[in-house]
Symmetry: C2
Amino acid sequence: MSAITKLRERLAELADLRAVQTLAGWDQLVMMPPGGAAERGHQIGTLARIAHEHATSPEIGEWLAELDDASCDELDRDIVRLARRDWERARRVPAELAAELSKAHSDGQESWQAARAADDFAAFAPALERNIELARAYGRCLDEEGRGVYQSLVDDFDFGLLTGELRRLFAELGSRLAPLVEEARDRPVPAKPAVPREVQRVAVEGIVRRLGVDAESWRLDTSTHPFSASMARTDQRMTTRYEDGGVESLLSSIHEFGHALYERQIAPELERTNLGTGTSMSVHESQSKLWENHVARHPAFAAVLAAELAAAGYEIDPGELHASMVAVEPSLIRVSADPLTYPLHIVLRFELELALIDGDLAVPDLPAAWRDGMKRLLGLEVPSDALGCLQDVHWSEGAFGYFPSYAMGCLIAAAMWEAIERDLGPQGEDLARGEVEPLKAWLAANVHRYGRRLDTVPLVERATGHGLEVEPFLRYVSPFAAVGS
Amino acid sequence: MSAITKLRERLAELADLRAVQTLAGWDQLVMMPPGGAAERGHQIGTLARIAHEHATSPEIGEWLAELDDASCDELDRDIVRLARRDWERARRVPAELAAELSKAHSDGQESWQAARAADDFAAFAPALERNIELARAYGRCLDEEGRGVYQSLVDDFDFGLLTGELRRLFAELGSRLAPLVEEARDRPVPAKPAVPREVQRVAVEGIVRRLGVDAESWRLDTSTHPFSASMARTDQRMTTRYEDGGVESLLSSIHEFGHALYERQIAPELERTNLGTGTSMSVHESQSKLWENHVARHPAFAAVLAAELAAAGYEIDPGELHASMVAVEPSLIRVSADPLTYPLHIVLRFELELALIDGDLAVPDLPAAWRDGMKRLLGLEVPSDALGCLQDVHWSEGAFGYFPSYAMGCLIAAAMWEAIERDLGPQGEDLARGEVEPLKAWLAANVHRYGRRLDTVPLVERATGHGLEVEPFLRYVSPFAAVGS
């Protein structure tokens, strides 16, 4: 067997193991009886350990050394390029450190849950301290070129997205959004519609069916926190949750549809290679945000949503529905933030985690820094750490460098939406009829089909014709500052 | 690390991999969108290959060689004994043969599906021929002691259950059941109750809840063919199916409960060892048959079933319900056979597969031999191969030596039931009230807790005080020959 054949066999095996890990995680959150939790932890741990062994074994290095780019076709060249990157990065982390990280993340999550429930930051501080230390050690292993520890952490989620670029974009977001938040302040917020759960359920099923979710390749279930999971290109699983009142379940289902559609439309030839997944967290989030912000929150699409709600037994005026989905109301909690203020929650987390990793902020000073930031960025007083710096799970799991992707997703989605309307014309007429096929085809051709063949920045540049920028997002949200006035 | 520690770590890893394979199979049959099938095949194949590599690696042999039984406690001695057996058996099969078997089984299933649909035995014959050849080659690899190829195949499902013993028991079953079938012939069969699906669903949920199925450690779903799957001692998944009319779903749910309860009650200390599953197919089937035949079909338990059906909106007299569940009616299809004639379907398959493997029956002669056997054992004319030798999937998958466990399950269940009534007294009063806790405790103490620590024969001897025999089963079914008279 040639080196490329052996390499591709190994990569197929790793793709299979990743799919099974995804299945084990999905099942745990959606189907598993609670009694299975401890054993499931062992099962996922064993899969992760075996996958790591198979991803870092020396023979991959031998195959890579044998491979001659000139004899490969274009697809194989991309496969080899990413295989080399992944193998080298994975091998830089010693097994002992990987084990320490895994243990600290599991302990951290437990400590955080208790601390949040008790609103007791001091109880979480030691675990956070430990996670930061280990994240620095991990980042140093990967920081071959001296670009900084935080950069190495970001690279895990968004390879090639530069910390300096994030600083520039987020500083601009902070200063440009501030006047819009000010403009919206004290405006009356439209009442949320009071949609019964059963109506939401029927409407959500109708809406995702319209978007192309069929029983052949998709599932829609419920879970505590909505998410999506891809077991295969033709096996996409989305979840949502139904709470009394509001249309959160509609927005979150369309958000998860955006994630799942990305995986669904990756080129079939990339399946069971190292390229057959979304390229980065930012681009993934851009796909969910594109459907959530630019389709679901489009004034024209409100007619479709209202029609599905009406078919399920709940009458609402489309204009009123739209207003309720875009109204600006600064809030303490990231996950329930409106589209305009949402990125400010991320700007705060980015500033703080960068300072924590770089040693410019000590753990005991985090709660005060959080309060200062919320005051500065959103004009809000934070009444407790549970509603402040203890609200998110990420740092307890050691996921530093992940938060930026949430805001980058908003920026990239807005830039892509402008590119879509430039290429396909204004989408209002199509969206009013629930016609999304041209949009899906554009996304397949310009974003989805590449899988990991293009990293975040080159992908965005090719799809939009521009680098990363805040202007399209600001053009998108500016009108919302006046909603309710 | 000591050799026993290293061995136990490896066995824990293998238990995790087996659990994940079980999950992937369960998901495929219960949850997966059909589009995921091709990739799921790859995923399961990769897991099986990795598990095989880890189960047969040379270091296990080194640890086993280092181990000194004297320094082990009793549990570790059993762990080592089974580890040695499993490792030696797995290593005797060359990788090329394992790959050929896997390919032939997959091809065989495909060929069988088409042949059955077209009622065309000749179309399936070449695949069957190939499966028989490979089964012989496989059996020869394992037949170290010259006990015959068929014995090696049985050992995979029921280690230590002897072919000679099966011949003796099944010959006796055939001759002793014949007059009972004759006695039942031409008696009017009681009408099947016409229970709507939704009533069945509510009644099934009520019944399994009574038996101890709770949301903490169990799931009940639907699938094309009912089965059960254990992801962990405290994560048991059962399925059933609801068809219009009949109470098949009640019987099959209680049958699957028997399988799942076995796994649920294995001693916790055996979890993540090589002993933490049911010991054999025969004993597993004895547990499902015990609940199906001796609890669900007990005249006293009919009151409980009738009460659950009534609570779900369907009134039926308990005596009438019981009669419908035990009536004897010879039929062509194994899976819908009544409790008296069921083992005769197995006797036929045992005789034929033994002759096929031993070379005493040629594949082209199978359909005629099937017809002769059905006439002799059940007095039935077989109108087509689709309703004859093409009805079961097993031989298409190369599963020779598996069928006996279905009948052995019936025999062992009857013997255990007599032991239970000897130890606990007649169960009628408890069953009339739906009280099954003493029964579950007896099964836990005498059968379930051992996991694989005892093989089929010693387990049965210890639990019942007798060797394998047909008398208890004959005492159980004899009264059914007169039902409807």
